[in-house]
């Protein structure tokens, strides 16, 4: 095998099956990476000239590097949950070559200084980290941040994730300014006025457990409002984070039919689990948005199959044990997800719901780059950035959270047997992870 620490200028990936949805490729191909770029893609054995290193990808899928639009790396300020170094190590193990980190840190990433801090090499990132900045100062929903300056500093979008923008006028301003700058506004859609003290989805299960429930309408009403704004503001780019309900999906479908620039992501846990799966107040089933009803889950799987969903994003939300092991209603929202996303997608979407593997790959590659601008990524066409994910779509394995590279272990998928394993993750032509 290859020594991942060795610096090299060229690497040829031989014998693999290339799936590059952006380039409409789904056939055996060799890929030559040189100086951080894709130098050549050619049928097996047809790449001329040598390479410093070879990667034997026989029996494996070779794909553009996966992109996760929604992770919480918890820096600055909450390094006890995760650091950029530990979070990106988990990302690499999950096959992600790029992650977009959320600004709901301590303090909130709402300034150029913090964007620059996140991008410093000292952070120890193993994969590409793209910052999503706060949409309003301190995410208080009152005054917009300096979109232009944040964008120039490298932020790829803005959001007040976790603290949705409720004020119609502020959201209108954000989408208007974002539209002028071609800068996406990401919204965590939840009318928090309707979800006070709620800790799971409102349904039979929440009633039985005596937990106050978040109604589907608390999500759908905000998505509908945002979609209405986005349809009438010139060039506005709205990205709906972790959409979880069938009702919200209807709004997004309508916006897409109207050719509005509305994109959205769904999470592996929302297409895998429902509110009925939670047993005995296990806070590893507590996240926001919550696990929804079976019919919501089915609607999301259908939208994944029919091409409506743009991207799968993990909403990787690490928390320390003491922040989760307590009264369910007081426990922190969120679960980790970077290391299980691909395997859950292959297991639940490809194998169980018969969604083609190429579509699954699209949801991690070409899909995310429709939502945010990541030039040269999401494809392995010649000249693209040499970010590659290599996986075995048939390999069965058991997820052991205690072995996670993340600092936190809060996942409902501990001990699950899954199909589809990441074999290697290559960032900028360098191998950063091998199974």
């Amino acid at each position: 095998m290859i020594n991942p620490n060795k610096n090299r200028s060229s690497l040829v990936i031989q014998g693999g099956h290339l799936i590059d949805p952006a380039a409409r490729i789904d056939v055996p191909m060799d890929v030559l990476l040189r100086d951080g770029r894709v130098a050549e893609v050619a049928p097996p054995g047809k790449i001329k000239g040598g390479a410093d290193e070879k990667f034997d990808a026989r029996g494996l899928i070779v794909a553009p590097g996966f992109i996760d639009l929604h992770v919480h790396l918890r820096e600055p300020g909450q390094a006890h949950k995760e650091t950029i170094a530990s979070g990106t190590a988990a990302a690499a193990a999950g096959g992600f070559t790029s992650v977009c980190t959320m600004p709901n840190t301590v303090p909130v990433v709402d300034s150029v200084e913090w964007i620059e801090w996140l991008r410093q090499p000292d952070r120890g990132a193993l994969v590409n980290v793209f910052a999503i900045a706060a949409a309003t100062r301190a995410s208080k929903g009152i005054a917009l941040t300096d979109f232009r300056a944040l964008q120039s500093a490298g932020a790829i979008a803005v959001t007040d994730d976790g603290k949705p923008i409720l004020d119609d006028n502020i959201m209108r301003e954000a989408l208007t300014l974002g539209g002028e700058l071609n800068f996406p506004v990401v919204q965590h859609a939840e009318d928090t006025r309707m979800t006070e003290n709620c800790s799971m989805h409102a349904g039979a299960r929440s009633f039985r457990l005596g937990l106050r429930g978040m109604t589907a309408s608390a999500e759908a009403s905000i998505v509908e409002r945002d979609v209405q704004l986005a349809m009438y503001i010139p060039n506005a780019r709205l990205h709906v984070a972790h959409l979880s309900t069938a009702d919200a999906l209807k709004s997004v479908r309508r916006a897409k039919r109207a050719r509005a620039k509305v994109t959205f992501e769904v999470t592996p846990h929302h297409f895998t689990l429902t509110d009925e799966d939670m047993r005995d107040y296990d806070s590893n089933y507590k996240m926001n948005p919550p696990l929804r009803s079976a019919s919501d889950r089915e609607a999301i799987v259908a939208a994944l199959a029919d091409g409506t969903v743009d991207a799968i994003a993990t909403d990787h939300a690490p928390h320390a044990v003491h922040e989760k092991t307590m009264e369910f209603e007081r426990a922190a929202f969120g679960i980790t997800g970077l290391e299980t996303a691909l395997a859950l997608s292959i297991t639940r979407l490809h194998r169980e719901s018969r969604i083609p593997l190429a579509r699954v790959v699209e949801l991690f590659t070409a899909g995310p780059v429709r939502c945010v601008d990541l030039r040269g990524r999401g494809s392995l066409a010649q000249g693209c950035v040499a970010d590659v994910t290599i996986f075995d779509p048939k390999k069965k394995w058991r997820y052991d959270a205690s072995q996670s590279r993340s600092k936190s272990k809060n996942t409902p998928f501990d001990g699950w047997e899954l199909t589809g394993q990441v074999v290697a993750t290559i960032v900028g032509g360098k191998i950063v992870f091998t199974a």
């Binding site: 009633f207 457990l209 005596g210 937990l211 209603e329």
Partner: protein, 303 residues
């Protein structure tokens, strides 16, 4: 970790046979001639929420059987200083607790405790979830008055949404085939409540709620838990308050129950509370032998 044997976390997962056994066992408990099965045992009452009946009857039950009891309340303890639920639990265990009785405003708190602490945990009411000892003493009271569950109809009127008593009662009575009618406005008696257990239906009309019923169980409108919900109390009184006239709609000989605290002039009138059909104080009395049985079971003494 699985809950310690003898824990009582809720009614939902108890088998009907176990419930019957407990009820029969409770019938044998005599507070005037108590067995000393808890002699020298340490019973900790961990109360994160106010209580009169539940706390004092658990305390009496434990003391009558010879236990040492300690009451810890959130006010005036380390809980006020920010100690976590589990750390308080570990502390109490280190002090030698043999049984922990816990009341908590959050649903599932006793479950979390039982998963980490190796002594029996008794749920004395957790948030909106369950209040198993209340359901057991209510079943005890019903059986004392009606002899059998067979063919019975129980109507629960009032704030079902916020009521752990209602949830536990539905689970218990349903296991014995009792017909359960929940009656109240949609905010307090939501249609989803019918999914709780077999044999549960919901009605908005008090006449329909009371017709042919053997037991009328009244619940207080828990104004402290409404959390933004708007309830017009005057309208509630007009539509659902139990008055002597309304009580006539129930079966002749129907009994009136209420887990307390009662608010005269709201969910019921003083005449109903003090009337011949009321069993409200009998419920309180029955709390002691029922809780003696629960504690004896926790110590493995139920035969």
């Amino acid at each position: 970790m699985n809950p310690a044997r003898g824990s009582l976390l809720g009614i939902e997962h108890l088998e009907a046979a176990e419930i019957l056994k407990l009820l029969k066992f409770a019938r044998r408990m005599n507070p005037d001639k108590p067995p000393t099965w808890l002699k020298g045992k340490r019973v900790v009452l961990l109360f994160y929420e106010a209580s009169t009946r539940t706390r004092s009857s658990f305390e009496f039950a434990a003391k009558l059987m010879g236990a040492h009891t300690v009451l810890i309340q959130s006010v005036g303890s380390s809980i006020e200083k920010g100690e976590s639920l589990l750390d308080t639990g570990y502390t109490v265990r280190a002090l030698g607790a043999d049984i922990i009785i816990i009341r908590h405003p959050n649903a599932g708190a006793p479950q979390v405790m039982a998963e980490h602490i190796d002594v029996p945990i008794i749920n004395a009411g957790d948030g909106l979830h369950e209040h198993p000892s209340q359901a057991l003493l209510d079943a005890y009271t019903i059986l004392r008055n009606k002899k059998t569950f067979k063919g019975l109809q129980v109507s629960i009127v009032g704030d079902i949404f916020h009521s752990r008593v209602a949830r536990s009662a539905c689970h218990l009575l349903s296991k014995f085939g009792v017909k359960i009618v929940l009656c109240g406005p949609p905010e307090l008696a939501p249609d989803i409540a019918t999914t709780l257990a077999p044999g549960v239906r919901v009605t908005r009309h008090i006449e329909e709620g009371l017709r042919g019923t053997d037991v009328v169980m009244l619940l207080r409108v828990q104004t402290e838990r409404l959390a933004g919900m708007k309830i017009d109390l005057a309208e509630y009184i007009a539509r659902y308050q139990m008055t002597p006239a309304r009580l006539k709609m129930a079966k002749k000989g129907a009994i009136v129950m209420h887990p307390g605290p009662i608010i005269r002039g709201l969910e019921l009138t003083g005449e109903v509370a003090d009337g011949a059909q009321a069993r409200i104080l009998e419920e309180v009395r029955n709390g002691v032998p029922t809780r003696m049985a629960i504690l004896a079971r926790a110590m493995g003494r139920m035969r």
